[in-house]
Structures are given as structure tokens and as C-alpha cells.
């Protein structure tokens, strides 16, 4: 496997004084049959090879190396990306070798975020495979002196039927070297797909089950220091003074270094504090606990969640800035109904906390190994932190032990790089769980106000919606006063409801923490509010919630928020190619209700709840079946989900994402809440920031994927938004009680 593993083994031998022996045998076998995780340079290419593009390298031993330029964090991209390339290439699956690409602009966009890996790269990946296939055909045609049009590629070889000649890809490589690189090639017909649409096994399965998978926390370099950093409890605060005498007494501690002070806006810069560096993680953490630090808690020291919540609800309850307007939402109606919903700050809390290792070489260049979702931004940030050109920075992407948005912010990578230069030694920075919960980029707290007016027939005639939350933009620029930019695209301006008079407003909210994005971002609270409110309206009108949901979605049509003045960007995609199609949303609602047996008799105290949502160009729905047990706790017995993501590459990974979204959404509904006190976060670990465990998992989470030949939509995030409202609606159906604030734990239900 990679250089890393060998170093790790040597280091182990050195540290334990073992001359050799079998202690690390398990590591080496795991690597022998597994794909590369680390990028390799040209030196690693022993065989002669030809690279028709940056994603494919065909070797003359028949192996096809595929560079995965997207980060693997559990969505299965290291399997589904090669599926697409290998399919167009007509490569055999067992001759594929997946190599994780470094961060480099030659790969195009690498920011593994926004559920973009397939939806924005499907055609690019197909072209990468198809041009490689055409290159093999051109080589064969040239070798045999026949027209390329008479040759076909099939099963890792090129065939010329008329002459009966065939040659394996490996045998054509030497001929292909030096041939012009084809830029465009025809794509295969959908009916001819070998891998696209098939549930291929996870390519990293052996590594995952044997301890051989290498994450950001697992990097070991010779002479490396382990760092643990104490940061100011309040965001943006600074060290006034510190006493490190006791920390330096701790066995194994090598150095104590004050980090650079943070400057607003915080962006991805280091967050300040004091770093303890040691020859192992435990000594670094022990030394850190012995630090005495006096803090200036800074401008956010008065931030308290309880008073902030009141202010946020007040802000959403008063008129704001209109961002979409259709008809006259103030028209007089026969009756009105209004409600306010609140959802708190959340932490992404991936099981692997942020971790990065950096080495500054003698020539001043810096090499990094990190669990990053966004290696090119990491490269820019490291270059900026060290005053280097980005050409002097190499970002190796490890596996990510979960990401959920946290790991697209490379502040932890900047810390490692800065410390590596300060110490002159390689440094690994590993955040503790408490660091992760308390010093992250928080999913925004929010308040949502809704008012509906009903006409004489009980139909919804007017709709006023206001959203208030501190903006992600505040992390990157001064003076941001509330919801802005792309945040309005996320379940707000794309409102699907068939209401003739509609006005949507944004309301002010100032940020006092680092606001960031979490799996499905603002869709989480926008869908919670809207799908809860639509369910409430059903009961106001005395309608079945599913029938009412379909009535609210209305007839099949394509919505353009721009028709109503909404500055909508549709996840950076053309509305012609990826319309807001209410027909597809309604079909998902119908299907998921059918799966759940909507309308069936339920025992007393049980209820079904439904919610649907479009996000990241895909349509998802969830139905939850819940009851309250003898201890007053909510039990989610079963969940049904449905997704229309257009064309899907690996249905098993799509299903697994929906299953995972069900659990992730349950954690949001039942447990998730961060509380600010005096500018700092109160919660710190999985005791105070609980997430769903096995004992709470439903008996089953079913998933149906809608058959579709539409262009691919996102998969990783869209499953999350409908889950919390489906559960809250189910709780209402079971109990008659409406909860308008998350998490349900605060109502004693978890």
C-alpha cells in the first residue's frame, strides 16, 4: 500500500524494539487486495501506461488506474465513480485500481459537498471513460490497419469482427502511448450499461472490516509530534496569558506553543489557543489539561441561547425583507392559521473528529494528509497560512470517518501546517470530541413563521412565510445580517405549494458563532417548518394529511421562482435540465404513502406521519410510524422512504444513504441541540450531545428508488429533510399533541 503504511510499520518496529515478526501482519494483508487510498506520484507507476485524461491511466499489465478526485466519507463515491468510468471504458471491474487523487485544479471541482459528486460529474466521468475507450479503439485500429469504426471495445479488449482480431487493453497500451488524446466521445446507450445502475459492492469493504482503512487520524510520519489544542470557549476570543509550567512537566510533552490569534471573519483560519505537542496523543491531551489560560472571550461573550431564541422568534414574527411574492398574500380570507417553529444549533459530529498531519520540507514545501472534503480549498488555506504558493502545497486525501459538511472547512488542516512549520517536525493535530462539539462550524439555529389563509371552500388561498437564522455568509464576510445568498435556495424560494397568493420574507439574525453547513443545510429547518405547517393545516381543515399534502403540492407543473421575483439558483444547475417538478414530488408522496400502508388501521396510540421535500435536485419522502412507550419516550417503529434522484449509479449506495439519512434525521428530531452560554457551547460529548443509537433505531428503514432516466440529482443529503417533520407529524397523529420546537428531547420524548 502507500508509503504511509510502510512508515507506520517501521515506526512501530522502532518504537517497540521488535526486530520484525508478525505483529503487523494483519495490516499488510489488508493492503494487498485493496485499492490505494493515498495518491501516488509517477514513481509508483512501474508498468508503462497511457493516460487519456487525468482520471484514467491504462497500464500495459492490463490494470486500469482510476483516480477518484472526490472524497470518500461514506457515500460510496470510491465505488460509484469508477463504476461510471469503467462502464464507458468497457473495463473489467476486477482490473480496476482506484487511486485517491491529491487536491489539484487539474481534476476540476473536488469540493465534496452539496451532494454533487454524481449529479455534477456524471457526464464528465462518462467522458473520461469513453475517451479512454476510444483511445484503445484507435490504438487497435492503427495496429491492425483497419478503420476505427469497425472496432468495438468490450470486456477489457478491442475486437474487430471482420478480421476476428482481438486485443486486451493492456496489450494496446504501448501502441496508444503518444497517440492524440481524444477530447469527446460518444456515450453508451443506457441499455448497454454494465455497472451504472448496478449495486456493486463497496470497493473498500475489505479495508473497512479489517482495520486497514486509513483515515485522517491514522497518519503516522517519522519524527512526528502529536498536538492537542486548547481553544477559547467563546468564538473569536483570544489568549490573554497562559502558564504552561505544569503542562511541560507531563511526560512525553515536547513543546507548548501559542497559536496565532483569530481574526474576524473567521473563515477557515486557525482559531487561536494554545497547542501542546508531545510524542503521543495521550501526553498531548494530558499536558493540555494542565494548562492555565486566561481568556479574553471577545465580542461574543454575551451570547446566550435562551435570550437569542426569544430574539429570533421575535424577528421571524415581524415583517422582514420580501424575497418572493406571488399575488397578494394579504388578501382577506375566510379564516387564518399561523404557527412558529424553532430548531436549535447542531453539530455535524462525524465519528472521526477533524484530524490532519502536516510536514514542512527543507525546501519550504508543505505536504498534508487529511480527512478533507475539499482538498483544493485546503491547499489554498495552507498556502495562505504559511505564505506559500499553492504549487508548494500537496494535499493527500485520506478516507473520511464521516464528514456531513464539517470536513469541508480546513481550519484543522491550517493548524497542523502552522504547527509543523513552527516546530520543524511533522505534526498531527487530532481534535477531541469536545473540541469537535464546542469549536466547530455550527448548523444554524432558526425560527420560522407561517401564516395561511383559507377561502370559503377550505382551500389555502394565501401563504406568508418568514425565516430567520444567522447566516453561513457571516463566517466569511463582515456585516452579514441574516439569511442570504444560496441559503434562500434551500427549501425556501423553491416552495412547491400550490397557493395563488404567496409571500416569503427573510428576517434579521446576527451571528455569534462560526456558522457552517451540515448535511442538507437550511433544508433541515425549512422542511421541518413547512412540512409541519402543511400537516397542521390538514388538521385545521379536517383533511387526511396525505390527501392534503397532495392538494398543497397541486397539479403537476414546473415552478420557476423567478416568475415571482425569487433570485433562485437551483443548486447551480439549469432549471430546464433540472426543473422544480411538482409531479415528481407528488409521485414520491404517493409512493412513500403506499409503501407505509397509509390509511391502515393502527393500534391506539400509534400514528403515521408524512413529509416530502425537494433538495439538491432530488425528491424525497418519508413516512414514520411512532408511538409513546410506558416511560413517555417516543418510539419510531418503522420508517419508509422514497427518493427520485433521476438516474442512479449504485442503487445499494443510494439505499444506504437513505437509511443513514433516516437515522441522521432521527437524531435531529429527537436529540440534537447545542446550547450557547457566555459565547461558548455547553455540550461536549455524546452524553450531552446524544445521537441515535441501535436501541432507538427503527425495526426497519425501507427505501424505494423511483425509476427515472432524468439526469442525476443529489443523494447524500436529500434524504435528511423530510425525516424530522415526518416524525413530528406522526407524533401528532399518535398523541394529538403538536411539537413546534426541536429536539423532541426537550418535550421529554427522548
Amino acid at each position: 500500500m502507500s508509503e504511509l503504511r510502510k512508515i507506520s510499520r517501521r515506526e512501530f518496529m522502532k518504537r517497540t524494539g521488535q526486530a520484525g515478526g508478525g505483529l503487523v501482519f494483519a495490516l499488510s494483508f489488508a493492503s494487498a487486495c485493496q485499492p490505494e487510498q493515498q495518491a501516488v506520484g509517477p514513481a509508483a507507476k512501474a508498468a508503462a501506461s497511457v493516460a487519456p485524461n487525468v482520471y484514467v491511466n491504462l497500464r500495459n499489465d492490463g490494470i486500469v488506474e482510476i483516480y477518484c478526485h472526490r472524497s470518500e466519507m461514506g457515500q460510496g463515491i470510491r465505488t460509484s465513480l469508477p463504476q461510471v468510468i469503467a462502464d464507458e471504458l468497457e473495463a473489467d471491474w476486477d482490473k480496476i485500481k482506484v487511486i485517491q487523487a491529491i487536491g489539484h485544479e487539474k481534476y476540476g471541482d473536488q469540493n465534496t459537498d452539496g451532494s454533487t459528486s454524481i449529479r455534477q460529474h456524471f457526464d464528465l466521468l462518462r467522458n473520461a471513460g469513453a475517451t479512454a475507450r476510444d483511445m484503445m479503439i484507435a490504438a487497435a485500429a492503427s495496429l491492425w490497419g483497419v478503420p476505427a469504426e469497425e472496432c468495438v471495445a468490450r470486456e477489457h479488449a478491442v475486437h474487430h469482427e471482420a478480421s476476428g482480431q482481438s486485443a486486451g487493453f493492456g496489450d494496446l497500451v504501448d501502441t496508444a502511448i503518444g497517440m492524440p488524446q481524444p477530447e469527446k466521445a460518444n456515450f453508451k446507450d443506457r441499455k448497454d450499461y454494465r455497472y451504472i445502475g448496478k449495486p456493486m459492492d463497496t470497493i473498500d469493504g475489505m479495508a473497512f472490516t479489517t482495520g486497514g482503512a486509513m483515515y485522517g487520524t491514522d497518519t503516522v510520519l517519522p519524527n512526528m509530534l502529536y498536538a492537542s489544542i486548547e481553544r477559547c470557549p467563546a468564538f473569536g476570543g483570544k489568549v490573554v496569558s497562559f502558564d504552561d509550567a505544569a503542562a511541560r512537566e507531563v511526560a512525553g510533552v515536547v513543546d507548548v506553543i501559542r497559536m496565532p490569534d483569530p481574526t474576524a471573519p473567521l473563515v477557515f483560519n486557525v482559531l487561536g489557543g494554545v497547542a501542546v505537542l508531545a510524542d503521543n496523543t495521550w501526553s498531548a491531551e494530558t499536558g493540555r489539561k494542565a494548562l492555565q489560560i486566561e481568556w479574553d472571550r471577545g465580542a461574543n461573550a454575551e451570547h446566550q441561547s435562551d435570550t437569542y431564541k426569544e430574539a429570533l422568534i421575535a424577528s421571524a414574527s415581524a415583517p422582514g425583507t420580501t424575497v418572493l411574492n406571488r399575488g397578494d398574500a394579504d388578501i382577506e380570507t375566510a379564516s387564518e392559521f399561523e404557527a412558529v417553529y424553532y430548531a436549535p444549533y447542531l453539530a455535524q459530529a462525524p465519528m472521526e473528529p477533524p484530524a490532519a498531519t502536516a510536514r514542512v520540507n527543507e525546501d519550504g514545501t508543505c505536504e498534508v494528509w487529511a480527512c478533507t472534503q475539499d482538498p483544493q480549498t485546503a491547499r489554498d488555506v495552507v498556502a495562505g497560512t504559511l505564505g506559500l504558493d499553492k504549487e508548494q502545497v500537496i494535499i493527500n486525501v485520506t478516507l473520511l470517518g464521516g464528514g456531513f459538511g464539517r470536513k469541508s472547512k480546513p481550519d484543522f488542516i491550517a493548524e497542523a501546517a502552522w504547527l509543523a512549520r513552527e516546530t520543524g517536525r511533522p505534526v498531527k493535530v487530532t481534535w477531541t470530541r469536545e473540541d469537535d462539539i464546542r469549536h466547530g462550524y455550527l448548523h444554524s439555529v432558526s425560527a420560522q413563521y407561517f401564516k395561511a389563509g383559507m377561502d370559503e371552500d377550505g382551500k389555502t388561498a394565501s401563504w406568508v412565510q418568514r425565516t430567520s437564522f444567522p447566516s453561513i455568509a457571516s463566517t466569511f464576510a463582515p456585516g452579514v445580517k441574516g439569511p442570504s445568498g444560496f441559503e434562500l435556495d434551500l427549501g425556501l424560494l423553491d416552495s412547491p405549494w400550490h397557493v395563488p397568493n404567496m409571500r416569503i420574507e427573510t428576517c434579521e439574525a446576527l451571528a455569534h458563532v462560526r456558522i457552517g453547513w451540515l448535511r442538507s443545510v437550511c433544508n433541515v429547518f425549512h422542511a421541518f417548518g413547512a412540512c409541519s405547517f402543511v400537516d397542521e393545516l390538514a388538521h385545521v381543515k379536517g383533511m387526511d394529511p396525505k390527501e392534503h399534502l397532495l392538494e398543497m403540492i397541486g397539479p403537476a407543473r414546473k415552478i420557476n421562482p423567478k416568475d415571482d421575483g425569487g433570485e433562485y439558483t437551483n443548486y447551480a444547475q439549469d432549471l430546464e435540465k433540472h426543473p422544480i417538478d411538482t409531479g415528481r414530488l407528488a409521485a414520491v408522496a404517493e409512493k412513500v404513502a403506499e409503501m407505509a400502508g397509509w390509511g391502515r388501521e393502527l393500534p391506539e396510540g400509534r400514528g403515521l406521519g408524512i413529509a416530502v421535500h425537494r433538495s439538491f435536485l432530488s425528491y424525497t419522502g418519508a413516512v414514520a410510524e411512532v408511538s409513546v412507550d410506558e416511560n413517555g419516550k417516543l418510539v419510531v417503529h418503522e420508517m419508509w422512504t422514497c427518493i427520485d434522484a433521476g438516474t442512479v449509479v449504485n442503487p445499494d449506495r443510494v439505499v444506504s444513504q437513505m437509511e443513514g439519512a433516516g437515522i441522521f434525521g432521527m437524531s435531529i428530531a429527537l436529540h440534537g441541540e447545542l446550547t450557547a452560554r457566555n459565547g461558548g457551547i455547553v455540550e461536549g460529548n455524546f452524553d450531552s450531545y446524544p445521537v441515535v443509537r441501535m436501541s432507538e433505531a427503527p425495526a426497519a428503514i425501507h427505501c424505494h428508488i423511483m425509476e427515472s432516466d432524468a439526469p442525476p440529482g443529489g443523494v447524500g443529503e436529500p434524504g435528511v429533510p423530510p425525516v424530522a417533520p415526518a416524525i413530528v407529524n406522526a407524533y401528532f397523529a399518535a398523541s394529538g399533541k403538536r411539537i413546534r420546537e426541536l429536539p423532541l428531547r426537550n418535550a421529554g420524548l427522548a
Binding site: 507506520s8 512501530f12 518504537r15 517497540t16 524494539g17 521488535q18 515478526g21 505483529l23 503487523v24 501482519f25 494483519a26 494483508f29 470518500e72 461514506g74 463497496t202 473498500d204 469493504g205 475489505m206 479495508a207 473497512f208 472490516t209 479489517t210 482495520g211 486497514g212 482503512a213 486509513m214 483515515y215 487520524t217 491514522d218 511526560a251 512525553g252 503521543n280 496523543t281 495521550w282 501526553s283 462525524p350 465519528m351 472521526e352 473528529p353 470517518g401 464521516g402 487530532t430 477531541t432 470530541r433 444506504s656 444513504q657 437509511e659 443513514g660 437515522i663 441522521f664 460529548n685 455524546f686 452524553d687 445521537v691 443509537r693 441501535m694 436501541s695 433505531a697 427503527p698 426497519a700
Partner: protein, 152 residues
């Protein structure tokens, strides 16, 4: 001081502070990184190893507690990934990001060792100390049942 114990079938002698959690001794000193840090407080189960056959949270177990004992990590569960739990995990594609799965597999292997055909309640009880943020719980349940069925 040196703490001697059997690690994945080999006798090792590690120069560590006896209070150092076994997790860090295994990862940083012995160099086996398959066992993961997730919380440091016995809350998530990412660090589960077997000590004398029992599943233990290595993040809160002092290294001294392993002295003279037998420690098995994910790397030592089988020589070639052929332990029935590992096989079932791959057959059902349980893992998403994979990070917590070393601990999940070690907990599941210990459960099946003491209860070869566990009920859902037993699985919930034995596995609820292991958090999976990707949400693979339903596949974990299925995989444990599959091991039980295949071996019966």
C-alpha cells in the same frame, strides 16, 4: 515502565505510562491504527477491543489493565478478514464511512461468541454502546442475524 501483554497473538512490551489508555498505547505506541478514537469517554464504542475475550472500551482502560492479558484488535480478529462477522459485514455492505466499524465488528463478534443466535433485544443491548453516525444500524442487525443463521 514496560507493560507486557499478548497483542493479536504476539507478546509485546510497550514503554508507556500505566495510566495511558490502552487505545493510545495500541495506536501511537504499537502502531496499530484499526482501533479508533471517537469520544474518549466510553460513550461511542469506536475503540472496542477484546481483553481476555471480553469487549472493552480501550479509550478508558488504562494500559496497566492489559498487563499479562490477551488483547485482540480488529487487525487480529482474523488473519485474512475471514471471521464470520467480517464476511457478513462485507456481504451486506454494512459500512458507509467505515470509521466506527472496527468497534462495531469487535462488539458483534463478542456478542456472537457468548450468544450465537441473539434476539433483536439482545443485539440492541449489546450494540447500543456503539454509535454509527452514518446510520448503519439496520444493516448491522441484519449482518449479526446472518452470521447466526449461517452458523446454525
Amino acid at each position: 515502565m514496560a507493560i507486557e501483554f499478548e497483542l493479536n497473538g504476539e507478546t509485546v512490551s510497550l514503554e508507556v505510562d500505566p495510566a495511558m489508555p490502552l487505545l493510545w498505547a495500541i495506536r501511537d505506541i504499537a502502531g496499530l491504527t484499526g482501533t479508533k478514537y471517537g469520544c474518549g469517554k466510553a460513550l461511542c464504542g469506536s475503540c472496542v477491543v477484546h481483553i481476555n475475550g471480553q469487549p472493552m472500551r480501550s479509550c478508558v482502560t488504562p494500559s496497566a489493565a492489559a498487563a499479562g492479558g490477551v488483547v485482540t484488535t480488529i487487525e487480529g480478529l482474523s488473519e485474512d478478514g475471514s471471521h464470520p462477522v467480517q464476511v457478513a459485514w462485507r456481504e451486506l455492505n454494512v459500512a458507509q464511512c467505515g470509521y466506527c466499524q472496527s468497534g462495531q465488528i469487535m462488539s458483534a463478534a463478542a456478542l456472537l461468541e457468548r450468544s450465537p443466535n441473539p434476539s433483536d433485544d439482545e443485539i440492541d443491548a449489546a450494540m447500543s454502546g456503539n454509535i454509527c453516525r452514518c446510520g448503519t444500524y439496520n444493516r448491522i442487525r441484519k449482518a449479526i442475524h446472518k452470521v447466526a443463521e449461517d452458523q446454525s
